[in-house]
């Protein structure tokens, strides 16, 4: 059984899943580079958890293919599961086990001897800051502790690919920061594929992003390219009356809309939605300067954020997506 060394970490082609009359995935095509941190975004019901379940071997695709490290998840499922770590959205463990026992139980599924299992469990407990409660039964863990334990168990087998379904959902800001830091440390050595509703976490750490809705991938690209391609606004700042300038701008062929905003610190602003960013950057400053009673201050592109991109692509179907 060969592994294709040049294969992407994860690749799906036409991945489709029907649950009776409901289509959860309708031909999902994504390609995740090896060693990357890959954000998988989508509103509620878009198919993220279904896609993760198929990759983890919990569900079977109705059509299409899914490969992890070049291995077919259906035909070579056992080998795939030796190479992945998986954390579901609401991790469940045996309440009667302690944290350490849970990790050691997980470790024994992998080709590690008893000494390696114990050492690895200690490492993972340190990594997720649960060493102090390792001997406590999981029934007494908080939601955040359970989530951190979930990350630890997903890493027990030294996975090539880490699949995380909403890893930060049950965590406070400090906990989210720790999880993000863990993901940063894995960059390059382990591919991290995670779904989330928290856009700020994606912006902070992801190398690439795929935005999914209604079971299809709407866009996949590197984070920087995704944001750059969505720059369609200029903000011009000046001292003076905004309405005559806004009226002038609206007559320009490269302008879609010009919206004056409230004054701040004595400066007026007009937000300009443009069709041609380059033409606008050349022509807007001289147009503003041409007004005698106006003092021009600046004209710069508005930095888009991921939320705007996301809402634009999904048609505003944000579900419970959070900006922060």
């Amino acid at each position: 059984m060969a592994i294709h060394l040049d294969a992407p970490a994860i690749e799906t082609k036409g991945l489709t899943k029907h649950f009776g009359p409901v289509t959860a995935l309708a031909g999902l095509d994504i390609r995740v580079p090896v060693g990357s941190i890959f954000g998988f975004l989508g509103p509620n019901g878009s198919g993220k958890t279904t896609a993760l379940s198929i990759l983890a071997g919990l569900a079977h695709a109705s059509d299409g293919t899914a490969h992890v490290s070049g291995l077919d998840v259906q035909a070579q499922g056992m080998v795939v599961r030796e190479r992945i770590g998986f954390l579901r959205q609401d991790p469940r463990f045996y309440g009667w086990m302690t944290g350490r026992e849970t990790l050691e139980f997980t470790g024994r599924f992998f080709p590690l001897d008893a000494r390696q299992v114990k050492r690895r469990a200690d490492e993972m407990l340190d990594l997720v800051d649960l060493s102090g409660v390792a001997s406590r039964k999981i029934g007494g863990y908080s939601g955040g502790m359970r989530q951190r334990l979930g990350i630890a168990q997903a890493l027990m087998g030294n996975p090539e690919v880490l699949l995380l379904d909403e890893p930060c959902s049950a965590l406070d800001p400090a906990g989210r920061f720790e999880v993000i830091q863990i993901m940063e440390r894995l960059r390059g050595s382990t591919t991290v594929f995670y779904s989330t509703h928290i856009l700020q976490d994606v912006e902070r750490v992801a190398d690439e992003v795929a935005i999914i809705n209604a079971g299809v991938c709407l866009r996949q690209s590197r984070m920087s390219e995704l944001l750059a391609a969505s720059q369609t606004e200029l903000v011009v700042e000046f001292e003076g009356e905004p309405e005559p300038i806004a009226a002038d701008l609206r007559r320009q062929p490269y302008v879609v809309a010009a919206s004056p905003e409230a004054a701040q610190n004595g400066l007026r602003r007009i937000r300009i939605e443009v069709r041609d960013l380059a033409a606008a950057r050349r022509q807007v400053p001289p147009l503003v300067v041409a007004h005698d009673d106006v003092i021009f201050v600046s004209c710069r592109p508005q930095q888009p954020d991921l939320e705007a991109v996301f809402l634009e692509l999904t048609g505003g179907a944000s579900g419970d997506v959070q900006a922060a």
């Binding site: 060969a2 071997g57 919990l58 070579q76 599924f109 050595s189």
Partner: protein
Amino acid sequence: MESTIARPRPIQATTSSRFAGAGNVFQKELREWFRTRRFLVTAVLTSLMLGAVPLVVFLHQGGLHDGRVDSGYRGVMNAWVALTLTLGAYLIVALTMSIIVKEEDGGTAQWIFTKPVSRSGYVLAKYAANVVAVVLGAVVIPSLVLLALTGATQSGGIQSWTAVVQTMGFASLHAAIVVGLVVGLSGLFRSSAPIAGIAIGMGFVPLFFNDLVPQQLTNLFPVEIGNIASQAVRGDHLAPWQPVVCGIALLAVSLAFACYRIERRQLQ
């Protein structure tokens, strides 16, 4: 500083055995019986239930005044078989009806199935561990308590250890078949109520239809192993082994069916 969680990647793919992870699941399952005190409660309750029988006979025969009694041995032995195979069967169903369903409902099955573990191995390991626990806790230990008290209260002591060993063997086999039936039904149903209902029903139905259907047909039900156990404890010649053979066949079919269904079950 090098990350403690980075390591060189393996170059070659590994292969895994057909029952990968089964040993780990078996250990976990047994540990759960002891750590949750389910084994202790089962052993104590069934020991109290069975241990009461020779004590009641002893008291009824005036043992408190006269010491060890001369009669009642056969009654004690018959009660041992009856209680172990009927009330014992209900207890076994109650103890095991959720062994697979609760893991799927609770999400722990989904957790385990994302590890390199064979689902068939998982099913068989859970079966094996629960049989060990049930046989020890609901058959062997309580039976030993009953036998110890019988030996202490009956003037003739235990009349035939061969019969006792045979009886415990049949009772253990019956327990193993009941657990297997429950596991098989878990492949069909995803809630414990129908599992319990059918498993218990298969224990009772033959008793109701004893007069209506030929003996050969009722012998197909595992509860008829009770008849063989009764014959064994009386030291009678053992009847045809049809119930035993059918019981083992039912066990094999149940486990194979459960493995087949759970291999294909989709979870999310």
